[in-house]
């Protein structure tokens, strides 16, 4: 790892000012960032750490029934906190399954959303990579290692977005609280992503001197069910091959009035299964529409020769997540 100056602001303002001044990188738990620095994929001259900022790990139920999560909340806290477990059960579940206990003690929610792709070509400095400035994505080449790559929107770059919390939060309509030199702004997570571009490593559309301060999940307006499922190669201590967060709103007759189905690890950013959502709307929520929606979720897939199996996993993950939502009548109250 190249030597760097460790900048330790005690307020968000000071952190933003330090980022603007030094051009440094944000450091939270360091699980993702230090890995890239050890590989010399990133060599920032300054790390601006959020560890000394008070209140960064606050979890609170808002007056309107929304839930506020500080960007510095750890995955362990998300999995164990009573407010999260009761009101955001699909998020608590996703957080509790991610990585390992020791990582969950360190890894933060902000860092989880801003973590970079696990694509091996991106993460090893000696390979070329579109996100690191090359003209083409080597995953897409005939010789590319494609197993875990994206199966949707995988042109010009086939990297898969690794966060399993992002799809859940997006299915719940979460908003990102962002702070920069010009002040604070709020952006819906659904609109916070940017498609891969040559030379752009991050998947969140944040300026280099902007910080995520919080993630806010709005209150539900109607009865709804939620669910989370993931398929992984190992039972633990690994990223998901496919993850899926769902939220289904029901009207008084038990018909689906709205549905949100978001997949992780299948596209360069979290992927909204719009055809699956449409397949559910207006239907009495049950096994048949769930099967149809799961099938519809694979529409538009453009798998590479090395990862056609992932399309089948998309169907499985969507079916299981929706089935969980159907069964979790009480648990998935929000």
């Amino acid at each position: 790892m190249k030597a760097f100056t460790f900048v330790r602001p005690r307020t968000v303002d000071a952190a933003v000012a330090a980022l603007a001044e030094t051009g440094g990188a944000v450091h939270a738990g360091g699980v993702d960032l230090l890995d890239r620095m050890k590989e010399h994929v990133d060599e920032p001259s300054h790390l601006v750490t959020l560890l000394d900022v008070p209140g960064r790990d606050a979890i609170a139920l808002e007056d309107d029934g929304g839930v506020h999560l500080g960007a510095g909340v750890t995955l362990a806290a998300l999995a164990e906190n009573d407010v999260v477990r009761r009101f955001l059960p699909s998020l608590a579940e996703a957080a509790g399954q991610a990585a390992s206990p020791a990582i969950r003690h360190r890894a933060t929610l902000g860092g989880n959303l801003a973590q970079r792709t696990r694509c091996g070509y991106f993460r090893i400095a000696s390979f070329s990579c579109l996100k690191r400035g090359a003209d083409a994505c080597p995953v897409r080449a005939e010789t590319g290692v494609q197993e875990t790559a994206a199966v949707f929107a995988n042109e010009p770059c086939a990297s898969a977005h690794p966060s399993s919390l992002a799809p859940v939060l997006q299915s719940l309509g979460a908003q990102l609280g962002v702070q920069g030199p010009k002040g604070a702004r709020s952006v819906s997570l659904a609109e916070a992503w940017r498609a891969p571009e040559k030379g752009v490593a991050g998947d969140l559309a944040l300026a280099a001197d902007e910080l995520i301060t919080a993630i806010v999940v709005p209150p539900r307006t109607r009865p709804q069910r939620v669910g989370y499922e993931e398929v992984r190669q190992k039972a633990a201590f690994d990223w998901a091959l496919v993850s899926c967060g769902v939220r289904v709103e029901l009207d008084d007759d038990g018909r689906v009035s709205d549905a949100s189905i978001v997949l992780g690890s299948v596209a360069p950013t979290p992927w909204v299964a719009t055809a699956a959502e449409a397949a559910l709307r207006g239907k009495a929520f049950g096994a048949e529409p769930i099967a149809a929606a799961a099938k519809a979720a694979t529409q538009g897939a453009t798998p590479l020769s090395g990862n056609t199996y992932k399309v089948r996993l998309v169907e499985v993950a969507v079916r299981r997540a929706l089935t969980r939502a159907l069964e979790g009548a009480k648990g998935g109250a929000r």
Binding site: A3, F4, T5, F6, V7, R8, P9, R10, T11, V12, D13, A14, A17, G29, G30, V31, D35, K38, L47, T49, L51, D52, V53, P54, G55, R56, D57, A58, I59, A60, L61, E62, D63, G66, H68, G70, G72, A76, N81, D82, V83, R86, A99, S100, P101, A102, I103, H105, R106, G177, Q179, P181, K182, G183, A184, T213, A214, V216, A236, F237
Partner: protein, 219 residues
């Protein structure tokens, strides 16, 4: 040592559904958020300077060269010089001669470097040594000694829970954390989950689980 620079203040009281009085305002999360931008736009040069001085007060920098720090490891204060890029794992092994925690992957992907930071398991390869200042570090050496073993260490011997031993210090720290968390009620599933982030290439896992359960039951 008293904590001079707490990494962060305790979180505000967590609101529970039944505890509406302690709800925290959305905007109150980070005090002063937005103030810098307002100051730049509205205040005169003098105030801006004062504001910049205040911001400078709100930042501390370390490095890039050697920084003297005091680590509290296994209940003892140890002074060391580290660069900010030095991981806690390197500081423990190379500066403090505590070689229990092992460097294997150095990428948060094996668990051989598992130690406790403020009583919770972390991978020392992904923690910077400078971050650990003012916090309590516990390594396998601090858990117990050959003549006065921690129950988990004794159970590892009794259950023959190691072969080459490379994963063992991490396994012991992960199991001892689970025993601390769950006490004698520790279940096999909980023990399994506790060592999910500790790889063993020699295949000791069944013995490790037995050792964790034995230690929990105080046998």
């Amino acid at each position: 040592m008293t904590r001079q620079e707490p990494p962060f203040e305790p979180a505000p009281p967590r609101a529970t559904p039944a505890d509406h009085a302690t709800r925290v305002s959305r905007r109150g999360l980070f005090k002063g958020a937005g103030a810098a931008a307002v100051s730049a736009a509205l205040l005169g040069a003098r105030e801006t300077l004062a504001r910049e001085a205040a911001v400078a007060d709100e930042v501390r920098t370390q490095g890039p060269g050697l920084v003297p720090i005091t680590l509290r490891v296994n209940g003892e204060e140890r002074k060391v010089q580290v660069e900010p890029r030095t991981t806690l794992l390197s500081a423990l092994r190379l500066r403090l001669d505590l070689t229990g925690a092992k460097p294997v992957c150095e990428r948060s992907q094996c668990g051989a470097c598992t130690v406790w930071l403020d009583g919770q398991t972390v991978y020392a390869c992904s923690v910077l040594a400078v971050e650990a200042e003012g916090r309590e570090v516990t390594t396998v050496e601090g858990l117990g000694t050959p003549s006065d073993m921690h129950p988990v260490q004794a159970a590892f011997c009794a259950e023959d829970a190691l072969q080459c031993g490379f994963c063992t210090p991490g396994m012991v720290m992960a199991c001892a954390f689970a025993v601390k968390q769950h006490g004698k009620d520790l279940t096999e599933d909980q023990a399994r989950a506790a060592v999910a982030g500790n790889l063993c290439r020699c295949g000791t896992h069944p013995h490790v689980l037995r050792a964790a359960l034995r230690a929990a039951k105080g046998e």
